[in-house]
Amino acid sequence: MSEAAEIDPRILDFEPDPYKLPLEKVDPAQPGLFFQGAEGPYFERLRKEDPVHLTPDNEEFGRYWSVTRYEDIKYVDMHHEIFSSEGGITIADQDEDFTLPMFIAMDPPKHDEQRKVVAPVAGPRNLAALEPTIRESVIEILDGLPIGETFNWVDRVSIELTTRMLAILFDFPWEERRKLTRWSDVATAGPESGIIESEDQRRAELLECLEYFSELWKERASRKEVGHDLVSMMAHSASTKDMLSRPMEYLGNLVLLIVGGNDTTRNSLSAGVLALNQNPDQYDKLRQNPDLIPNMVSEIIRWQTPLAHMRRVALQDTVLGGKQIKKGEKVVMWYLSGNRDPDAFDDPDAFVIDRPNARKHMSFGFGIHRCMGNRVGEMQLRIAWEEILKRFEKVEVVGEPVRNISAFVHGFTELPVRLIAK
């Protein structure tokens, strides 16, 4: 497939069996590992043998700690006064010449002030209003799909649905909505991803995003009646209304909202199709009992963990899992590993749509940075599966999925499927 053909062979230069490595060399932050879907055994070994684990010298990301057990991850997430988000929430350090402040990468009190401005868009009042709009989009997308032909589910369904949702939340010019998809991909792309050629290209494209949204801001700010979209909310709220004069902060928060609303649900929507195909007994169970959809949605989000990790920086010397972490060191919470921790979930690698504690998954994080759009994401997945079940006997995976080359965005670029009509 196109992307697979162009990848840099060096990313595949890793030992697939982590048990053959000396423990100190077990370094899970390798994009190629995730591209191959081979990360599971790495985390299994770390959970068992060294749950808080130091990698002193990752080639791309430098020195970092891996936290791999459910309870330890939750502890880090809940203690924001020890483990700071300031300055970045992925293992990759921000480009020093192009720093994008955004509230997910801030500590209180600024985090709280800025999050509060945009939180209502995903809040209860808006949710009820969004449901019919989401359903309309889902129906239009599904009814436009070919029956019996092979196509890429990621592009035709997962990307299309989440992009429409974002365009609605931003009140973004409809015909140009795929710009949002592109900016999301560019923002999270690593050098080995094949999405961008260089950091210069990333900056240039993100500045285009800023320019585009600056025009939207001016237009929304000048309206007498305040709109309910995210740009209007920021343009009119006391704690953010001067943000346009801090363009990098505006861009940072746009990137946060675009990525947060895009990659996550997109990859869960693809993952559900793959998981049900790999587990035909679960697909049967679902067909027999569509009431399981809400619980299945949580199980898909657990099983996939669409963002593999979040990172923090220790604000002080501290001890975690018996290890001495020094002030200033990077601490990576591998949510994907916590979601497969046998101490938290029975038979954790199994996909079980009626798993009783599926909602305990950590894909949304815990503590003050917990996902703001979790209910919108769940709602999209629920409605999508309700409408899929009404229409198709099966969404059949007919080829190998292609995964993202990333240790952060955990998902798919291609998932070839064929629809079997009811």
Partner: protein
């Protein structure tokens, strides 16, 4: 055993017997009261056990502490009488407590 009444968003009431020492959230979960998710299991870290305390009971229930306050504050629908029910221990004093469950947990 103290009795606690949970009122759903649609007005349906559920009166349950609560164990002293456990949380109000636990009383809801153990008695299958709908509308309390408690995703984090009761550690004040997900805010999905949000309830509105009957204003007449606010003095006895008390105000949230810092950690709870910072979680509650994330919710655009929080009110003066908002509490996370995992952070309210059941006591004999709370016999008769009434709380309302929001339409959606965040």
């Amino acid at each position: 055993m103290p009795k606690i009444t949970f009122i759903e968003h649609n007005g349906t009431e559920h009166q349950v017997d609560a164990d002293v020492g456990l949380s109000v959230m636990r009383a809801a979960i153990d008695n299958l009261v709908p509308g309390i998710d408690a995703d984090c299991g009761g550690e004040c870290s997900c805010a999905t056990c949000h309830v509105y305390v009957d204003p007449a009971w606010m003095d006895k229930v008390g105000k949230p502490e810092d950690r709870e306050e910072s979680m509650l504050d994330l919710n655009p629908e929080r009110e003066e009488n908002s509490r996370l029910s995992c952070q309210i221990p059941v006591t004999d004093e709370l016999d008769g407590l009434k709380v309302t469950v929001p339409e959606f947990q965040m």
